[in-house]
Symmetry: C2
Subunit: 209 residues, 2 copies
């Protein structure tokens, strides 16, 4: 049944809100909460209750009129829908400040991800430890990723190298890239890219100041 549901084309903007719903619900669950409502969720997230009900209804019937949502059940459903009811292994490319921070980041636990290798092209970094990982040289990247069947990677290299790294990742079978380099990447249409660039976020706010 899940497959049937997913064959329906869901707008990407709706997909983009699901991780925020999941994060809020997981936090409520951690606090020992059992039931919530689209109103409460909406207030926490700054999204209207009607929007939340509409988004969730695209994937099934998760709540009952008047009784709200069972948090544990909805968490499980969202984890399945987003395919994070497992741990995806990830490669980190670039062992500078940002790559190292990401490789050591504790916030992936329980959210579907774990870093399992890190690479850099700087000989002074190769062989050193970042958290639990030994930095490997970029030359090993394709082989190691292919052998491990890794499909997710994070790019944290200078902007000038990011496209080259992305090309290697795509050849090695990576299908989703989180790019911390402040540059747009060209990848085949079956490869997903998301961007994290703090200056972009900040500029979006200074417009209003």
């Amino acid at each position: 049944m899940e497959d049937t549901i997913e064959q329906k084309e869901i707008p990407d903007i709706v997909v983009g809100r699901l991780p925020m719903y999941l994060r809020s619900l997981q936090r409520m669950a951690q606090e020992g909460r059992q039931v919530t409502s689209s109103q409460e969720l909406g207030e926490k997230l700054g999204i209207s209750a009607a929007q939340i009900r509409k988004d969730l209804s695209q994937f099934g019937e998760f709540g009952k009129q008047g009784t709200g949502y069972n948090i544990e059940f909805l968490v499980e459903q969202l984890r399945q829908i987003l395919h994070v009811d497992r741990d995806w292994e990830m490669a980190v490319i670039g062992a500078g400040d940002i790559g190292s921070a990401v490789a050591r980041y504790k916030g992936f636990a329980n959210r579907g991800f774990k870093v399992s290798m890190i690479f850099d092209n700087d000989p002074s970094k190769v062989g050193s430890k970042v958290g639990d990982f030994t930095v490997q040289e970029n030359g090993c990247m394709s082989d190691a990723i292919q052998k491990a069947g890794i499909r997710l990677a994070m790019i944290a290299v200078p902007a000038t190298h990011a496209q080259d790294v992305a090309d290697q990742l795509v050849k090695a079978g990576v299908k989703a890239i989180l790019n911390y380099a402040p540059v747009s990447l060209n990848v085949p249409s079956d490869v997903h890219v998301q961007y994290i660039d703090p200056a972009i976020h900040l500029q979006r706010m200074t417009y209003y100041l």
Copy 2:
């Protein structure tokens, strides 16, 4: 004239694309380029040329039919529109891996921002150096931010402390917060918040895998 233009209500989604246009144009300028087109920009960014022309036309006449956009001129216009034709001072709260990486981040140069102070509540970190900055204790935060007239801050503290820090920042006069803590913040309506949470970006992609 600029003020008149800005009084027109521009959809937030349009505002959100301007920083990406600016980043691409600045990169072209760095490469010594002088002219571009909405087609070229669109290909780089995965946005239609028509959308780009429509977005930019909301702010004025920046290109001529057939001759394209003068890159330097459009960069200057976008910097003015986004209010990054200056350097905004920023406070970083949290001197852990992420806060430290952000405080040392070189990528803010020429994009309108510079970090000018960093705080932490861990006595073992207070007084230590992060890049050019000495970590100050959280107790000094409100005073220091108020005195310096700082209006932008980045939160890089654990999720459990983020709301408390946000409340202090708002009281100190901060109007825009970039939040790295994986939790939604409640702030007054005149305070802007943007979120950076790598797990959210990753989950948005695993949906499609």
